[in-house]
Symmetry: C2
Subunit: 254 residues, 2 copies
């Protein structure tokens, strides 16, 4: 169950155009695969940045349409931020975990803890918009997986990724916010390592590691929002990205 | 400066034997490269799990040699843990960040925040030992890099990795605790994304993403403590893993 291939390939897909609400993501992905001459195979993993998923699903807000609340105005004034942006972050937050020095660390409705409730600023047709996380990223991943199965006749794992900050460490890294067809963890507890030592606490969040690995070919400046990971054995019971959210009763930092 | 290759290869090296204090890690790595028939090239990245670095550097403690303090005994009694193990964790901690429900989240002398101050239990010759983090993982990385340059005549990036838990998310992932010859971050601030939007907060911790990617070929059960990453462009000013540690004055969770 824990066989790991010694070789992994990560292939970023170029040529996916600017995504608009209603666009057929699966068609855009299969088109990019064809142009690249890449034959996606069963058991491979497709990592998709949440931004194109959110755009396809219409999870965009024009700043000009937002009426900030008095609370959002007050925070924005204190921190020199745009009150409409703060308003959208508050609307997307189930709970504020920390609010300090102009930073808002929120818990989203999905349970993810991240800066600005995962709300990203971007441009669409030259106008500033805010891009929200998908309503249900696990369902988004499942739809992409189903679409790829319907069109290509193969079954892959799908990860929707987003870049999150971390406590204690500088910089953001990609993590999985949506999953379909793969196990979020490799759970080694009870197994013995090559030295015969029984592992007690080793639960690896492989879905997050796969998301992080995919970011390495994506970057932020190339338009390369999808990556294929080839060579990782899909083992274990498929789960959801919600499984990656630590139960608040166990969490010492929430 | 931010060109990202669209293709990345991650190759785990098999056949590295159990490492003992004083062993020549660079020799073990070049031996494994040869057996695999892999020609390491300049600009590639070598990721080494800290465990073999710690073992080679003699950062091992036999439980039988530890005399626990009264404080360690009290904690261990309350949580049903081994008092000698708790004692070593306390000795390796610069500060305790959280201590609850049998968990000790420490800040190490390097500034890393992680469970058990990075102290791992393992077996050596069938006897239980504790494996501490290297004294200076950046220096360990630099020595490996220098050794590979001396023997192979090429300059690579080196990452020493460890698996850390995270706030808010289940499971551990590999991060960089030592670096040589590569930049810890890709800092996109001030650049424009493909939609013309000026990026304001995008600082990607690529060294951590590289460490996470390497874990995917390592696993815990195969003896595969080294991986080569091929295709990632080494750009930016080289830094240290200490750069990845968030300044306590900026950290909302320390």
């Amino acid at each position: 169950m824990f066989d790991r291939s010694s070789d992994l390939e990560i292939i970023g897909l170029d040529g996916i155009p600017e995504v608009r609400p209603g666009d057929d993501l699966v068609g855009l992905i299969t088109g990019a695969l064809e142009r690249r001459g890449l034959l996606l195979q069963g058991g491979e993993i497709v990592v998709v940045t949440h931004k194109i998923v959110s755009k396809a699903e219409g999870r965009l807000v024009r700043l000009s349409e937002i009426e900030p609340s008095p609370f959002a105005r007050r925070l924005a004034d204190a921190w020199g931020r745009d009150a409409r942006h703060v308003e959208v972050i508050l609307r997307e937050s189930a709970r504020i975990v920390r609010m300090d020095r102009g930073l808002i660390i929120s818990e989203t409705r999905h349970g993810f803890v991240c800066a600005n409730a995962g709300v990203d600023a971007s441009n669409v047709d030259g106008q500033e918009v805010l891009c929200l996380q998908p309503i249900d990223p696990d369902a988004s991943a499942a739809r992409i997986r189903e679409g790829l199965r319907a069109r290509l006749g193969i079954t892959v794992g799908v990860i929707i990724s987003d870049s999150f900050g971390r406590a204690w460490r500088n910089g953001v890294i990609n993590v999985a916010i949506g999953l379909a067809g793969l196990a979020p963890f490799a759970d080694y507890r009870g197994h013995r390592d090559p030295n015969g030592y029984e592992l007690r606490a080793s639960v690896l969040a492989v879905a997050d590691e796969l998301a992080a690995a995919a970011e390495l070919v994506m970057g932020k400046l190339a338009r390369r929002p999808v990556a294929v990971i080839r060579g990782f054995q899909l083992t274990g019971t498929p789960g959801t990205a919600r499984d990656l959210v630590m139960d608040p009763t166990r969490d010492l930092f929430r």
